[in-house]
C-alpha cells in the first residue's frame, strides 16, 4: 500500500526530461556563432574607419542579442521571428520612419548637406583669381587612395603637395620639360586620360593657403585665388560683392535684403511647411485633388473590372457539361505568366497612334496616349488584361469550395439563375475573396509600374508640365524625388506620408466592414 503511494508520487512529479545533445543541436549552434562572427568581422572595420560609433554600437548590441537568443533554450518564438524581423526593421520600418522625419525637412537639391558644407561650398565656389597671384604647373596624383595636387612653382621649380589640408613640400620629384611633375616618390602621378576621368574630382579639390585657395584651372594649371564671398560668424552672414546675405534658419538659405538667396543652402527642419504646401499651394493642391480622385478611380476600376471579368469566365467554365476547360484555362492564365513589365511596354506600343496594332486593326486614328480620357481608358484596359487571370484563378478555387447542393437547391425552389447567383453564389464568393479584393485595391492604389511603363503619367497639359493626366500619387512622388528638374526629397516624403495615411484609412474601414459581413454570412 505504502509502495503504491510512493509510485503515484513519482508519477505526479516526473523528472524534467533531459534532452540529449544531438548532433543537429551542436551543429546549428556552431553555425549561428560562425555566421555572427563572420558578419562582425566583415562589418566592423568599415564602421570603425568611418568613425560611425552609433552604427557600430547598434551592430554590436544586435549581434549580442541574436547570439544570446540562439544559444539559450528559452525564447523559442523569438528564434523563429527574429530572422524576418531583422530585415523588416532594417529595410521597411526604419525607412518608413526615416521618410516621416524627412517629410518635415527641406532636404533636396540645394539642401543636401549641413550648414558648414553649404558655407564651404559657397566660399570655394566663389573663388576668383586675384590679380598678380601665382600660377602653378599642375599634376594630379594619388597619395594612397586620396587625390592630391603636385604644384610646381614656374620660377623656382619648387614642388609642393596640395591637399585639402594645405601645402607641403615634396622632395625628389622629377620634372618634365613642360614644367610638370613626371615622378615623385610616394605618389602615383596620373596620366592624361586618368586625370580626365577624374576631372570633376580635380575641379572640386581646393587647397587652402594663407590668402585664399588654390584651385585647378583645367587639368594642367592651377591658380591661387580669393573667395569673393566669405562667411562672417559674428553676423552669421555671407559678405562679398557689396552685398550681405544673412542666414535664414527657417529656409536653410542665405538671403539678402532684396529677398534673393544664394544657390547653396542647407538642410533644416521646416515643420509642417511641406504638408501645408501640398494642401494650400495653388499649383499643387489643385492637382492633388484631381490626382487623388483619379487614383481612387483607377484602383477601384482595376479591382472591379478584373474581378468582374475573372469571375465571369470562371462562372462560364464552372459547368459540368463544359468541354475543353483545360485548354481555356491555360489560354486564360497566360497573361499572368508573361512578364508584366514587358507586356506593359508592349501594350504601350499597341496603343501607338501611328503604327499601333489597335488603330490598325480597327481602322482608327486615335491618339490614345495623347488624350486625357482615352489615356485613362487605355491604362485601365491594360490593367484589366494583366489582372483578370489572377481573379479568374482565385474565383475558380473559391467556386469549387461552394457546395453544388446550395445552387441546386435554389434552382429546385424555382429561383431564376441570376437570382440564385446574386443571393447564393456571389455572397459566398465575396466572403472568401474580400480580403484578396482589398489587398488588390491597396496594390493598385500604388501600382507604379502600370503607369510608369505605359503613359509615364502623360499626357501632360500645357499649364502643368509636372502633373500628367494619368499620374497616380506614387508616380508623381517618384518624379518629385528622382525626375527631371531639381530633386525635392522633403516634399516627396510628405507625399508618401499622405499616400500612407490614405491607404491605411481605406483599408481600416473596409476591413471593419468585412468583419461585419463575415458575421452575417459565416
Amino acid at each position: 500500500m505504502s509502495l503504491d503511494v510512493r509510485e503515484a508520487a513519482e508519477v505526479t512529479t516526473p523528472p524534467r526530461p533531459r534532452r540529449e545533445l544531438t548532433t543537429a543541436f551542436v551543429v546549428s549552434r556552431i553555425a549561428v556563432l560562425a555566421v555572427a562572427a563572420a558578419i562582425l568581422l566583415y562589418a566592423v572595420p568599415p564602421l570603425v574607419a568611418a568613425e560611425s560609433w552609433i552604427s557600430l554600437t547598434l551592430l554590436l548590441v544586435a549581434s549580442a542579442v541574436i547570439g544570446y537568443l540562439y544559444l539559450t533554450r528559452r525564447f523559442v518564438p523569438a528564434k523563429y521571428l527574429v530572422p524576418g524581423t531583422v530585415f523588416l526593421i532594417a529595410f521597411q520600418v526604419f525607412p518608413v520612419l526615416y521618410t516621416v522625419s524627412t517629410a518635415f525637412t527641406n532636404f533636396g537639391d540645394g539642401h543636401r548637406g549641413d550648414k558648414a558644407a553649404a558655407i564651404s561650398a559657397i566660399e570655394t565656389g566663389s573663388v576668383r583669381q586675384a590679380p598678380g597671384s601665382p600660377e602653378y604647373g599642375l599634376s594630379a596624383a594619388l597619395k594612397g587612395d586620396s587625390l592630391v595636387f603636385l604644384l610646381v612653382d614656374p620660377k623656382t621649380k619648387q614642388v609642393q603637395e596640395g591637399s585639402p589640408d594645405g601645402l607641403a613640400a615634396v622632395q625628389g620629384a622629377r620634372l618634365g620639360v613642360t614644367g610638370k611633375v613626371l615622378e615623385a616618390p610616394g605618389y602615383t602621378v596620373l596620366k592624361a586620360p586618368e586625370a580626365a576621368a577624374r576631372a570633376k574630382q580635380i575641379a572640386e579639390l581646393a587647397v587652402p593657403t594663407q590668402g585664399g585657395l588654390i584651385k585647378a584651372n583645367g587639368l594642367s594649371r592651377a591658380v591661387e585665388g580669393r573667395a569673393t564671398l566669405t562667411y562672417d560668424a559674428v553676423c552669421d552672414c555671407v559678405k562679398g560683392g557689396g552685398d550681405t546675405w544673412t542666414a535664414d534658419e527657417s529656409q536653410g538659405y542665405f538671403v539678402n535684403a532684396k529677398g534673393e538667396h544664394l544657390a547653396q543652402g542647407w538642410q533644416v527642419n521646416v515643420g509642417f511647411a511641406n504638408f501645408a504646401r501640398v494642401l494650400t499651394d495653388p499649383t499643387l493642391s489643385a492637382h492633388f485633388l484631381g490626382m487623388f480622385t483619379w487614383n481612387m478611380a483607377f484602383a477601384l476600376l482595376s479591382v472591379l473590372t478584373t474581378f468582374a471579368l475573372g469571375m465571369g469566365v470562371a462562372l462560364a467554365l464552372h459547368h459540368p457539361k463544359m468541354r475543353g476547360t483545360r485548354f481555356y484555362r491555360i489560354a486564360l492564365i497566360l497573361p499572368y505568366a508573361m512578364p508584366a513589365f514587358a507586356m506593359l511596354l508592349v501594350w504601350r506600343d499597341l496603343f501607338n497612334r501611328d503604327f499601333g496594332l489597335i488603330n490598325q486593326l480597327f481602322g482608327l486614328d486615335v491618339d490614345w496616349m495623347g488624350g486625357m480620357v482615352s489615356a485613362k481608358f487605355a491604362v485601365i484596359l491594360v490593367n484589366l488584361w494583366l489582372g483578370f487571370p489572377y481573379m479568374f484563378l482565385v474565383t475558380t478555387g473559391a467556386l469549387q469550395a461552394i457546395p453544388r447542393e446550395l445552387t441546386e437547391a435554389a434552382s429546385i425552389d424555382g429561383a431564376p439563375p441570376w437570382y440564385a447567383f446574386r443571393k447564393v453564389t456571389l455572397p459566398l464568393l465575396l466572403v472568401a475573396l474580400t480580403p484578396l479584393l482589398i489587398s488588390s485595391f491597396a496594390f493598385n492604389f500604388n501600382n507604379y509600374n502600370a503607369i510608369a511603363l505605359t503613359t509615364d503619367g502623360g499626357p501632360f497639359p500645357a499649364e502643368s508640365p509636372t502633373v500628367g493626366g494619368t499620374d497616380l500619387l506614387i508616380s508623381y512622388t517618384v518624379r518629385l524625388a528622382f525626375g527631371t528638374g531639381s530633386a525635392q526629397f522633403g516634399l516627396a516624403a510628405t507625399m508618401s506620408v499622405f499616400i500612407f495615411a490614405i491607404v491605411a484609412t481605406i483599408s481600416a474601414i473596409t476591413f471593419r466592414r468585412t468583419r461585419k459581413q463575415e458575421d452575417v454570412y459565416a
Binding site: Q92, V96, Y98
Partner: protein, 279 residues
C-alpha cells in the same frame, strides 16, 4: 444553346487574353525587327532577333537573364523560409505580443516599401560607401532590400494555412521527444507544400517584374535585371528599331515564369484559395 453561349463568351475572352501575346510572338520572328513592320500575323519567319539578342555588344542580355533568375530564385526562396518561420511561430506558439505582432505586420505592409524609396536611396548611398559589395549595382544589395518585404502578406497567408493543420500532430511529436526544430522541418514543412508553392510562385513573378527599385538601384549594364535592361532597350531612339529584339527577349523572359507555373500548377488553385479563405 446555353453551352454555346458560354463557349462564345470564353472564346472572346481568350482572344482578348491571347492577342497581345500573339503580337509579341509575331514581332519576335519578324525578320525586319522593327515596331512599324510588326503585325498580328508575321510577314516572314526567322530567328534573327534571337541571334541578335545574344550577340549584342550594347545589351548583355544573357547576363540580365542570369541576374534576374538568380535574384528571383534567391529572393523567393529566402523570403519563403523567413515568412514560414514567422508563420510557424504565430500559428503554433502563444507568446506575449503575438496579436500585436500580427496586426503590426498588416499595418507595416500597407506602407509599400517603394514609398520609402527616397530614404532607401539615402541609406544605400551610405551602404555603398561602407560596404561596396552590398551597395548600388550589386545583386546582394537588392536582395537584402527585397527581403525587407519577406514578412507580411506571405506570413498571413501561411499562418492561415498552418492553422488548418491539426495541432495534435505536433503534440504527439512533442510527446515522442521531438524538438521544435524537428517538428518544423520534418512534420510541418512537408505538409504545407501547396501554400509554399503558391507563395514561391507569387514571389518569383513579383521579383522578376520588379522595376522601380531595380531601376534606381541597378545602373551598370552588367548588373541590370531583365526589367531594367529591357526597358532601356526600347527607351528613346531604340523604341522602333529594337522592337523585334525586345519581343524576342520578352518570350525568353516568360520561359522561367511559365515553367515554374506549369511545375506548380496543381497546387496553385488550392493554395491561393486556402490562404484566402482562412486569411
Amino acid at each position: 444553346m446555353k453551352l454555346a453561349l458560354r463557349h462564345a463568351f470564353v472564346l472572346l475572352v481568350c482572344a482578348f487574353a491571347l492577342f497581345p501575346i500573339l503580337f509579341v510572338v509575331s514581332a519576335a520572328v519578324n525578320p525586319l525587327g522593327t515596331l512599324a513592320s510588326s503585325d498580328l500575323v508575321p510577314n516572314g519567319a526567322s530567328l534573327d532577333n534571337f541571334a541578335k539578342l545574344f550577340s549584342s555588344d550594347t545589351y548583355p542580355f544573357a547576363r540580365w537573364v542570369f541576374n534576374s533568375v538568380f535574384i528571383a530564385l534567391a529572393a523567393s526562396t529566402a523570403s519563403l523560409l523567413l515568412s514560414m518561420f514567422a508563420a510557424y511561430a504565430f500559428s503554433r506558439m502563444r507568446f506575449a505580443g503575438r496579436r500585436v505582432g500580427l496586426l503590426a505586420l498588416l499595418l507595416i505592409q500597407m506602407f509599400p516599401q517603394f514609398l520609402a524609396i527616397v530614404t532607401i536611396f539615402m541609406i544605400f548611398t551610405r551602404v555603398t560607401e561602407l560596404y561596396p559589395a552590398f551597395g548600388f549595382n550589386t545583386t546582394w544589395g537588392i536582395l537584402l532590400l527585397y527581403l525587407g518585404g519577406a514578412l507580411g502578406v506571405n506570413t498571413w497567408l501561411m499562418k492561415g494555412f498552418l492553422d488548418t493543420i491539426p495541432k495534435e500532430l505536433d503534440e504527439s511529436a512533442t510527446v515522442d521527444g521531438a524538438t521544435h526544430a524537428q517538428i518544423f522541418w520534418k512534420i510541418i514543412l512537408p505538409l504545407v507544400t501547396p501554400i509554399l508553392a503558391v507563395t514561391a510562385l507569387l514571389a518569383f513573378i513579383g521579383t522578376m517584374s520588379e522595376f522601380l527599385m531595380a531601376n534606381i538601384f541597378l545602373r551598370d549594364a552588367e548588373s541590370k535585371t531583365l526589367a531594367v535592361g529591357m526597358y532601356g532597350m526600347i527607351a528613346g531612339d531604340g523604341r522602333n528599331a529594337n522592337f523585334g529584339m525586345f519581343a524576342a527577349a520578352t518570350l525568353i523572359t516568360a520561359i522561367p515564369t511559365v515553367s515554374v507555373f506549369l511545375w506548380l500548377q496543381k497546387f496553385i488553385v488550392s493554395g491561393l484559395t486556402a490562404g484566402a479563405v482562412k486569411g
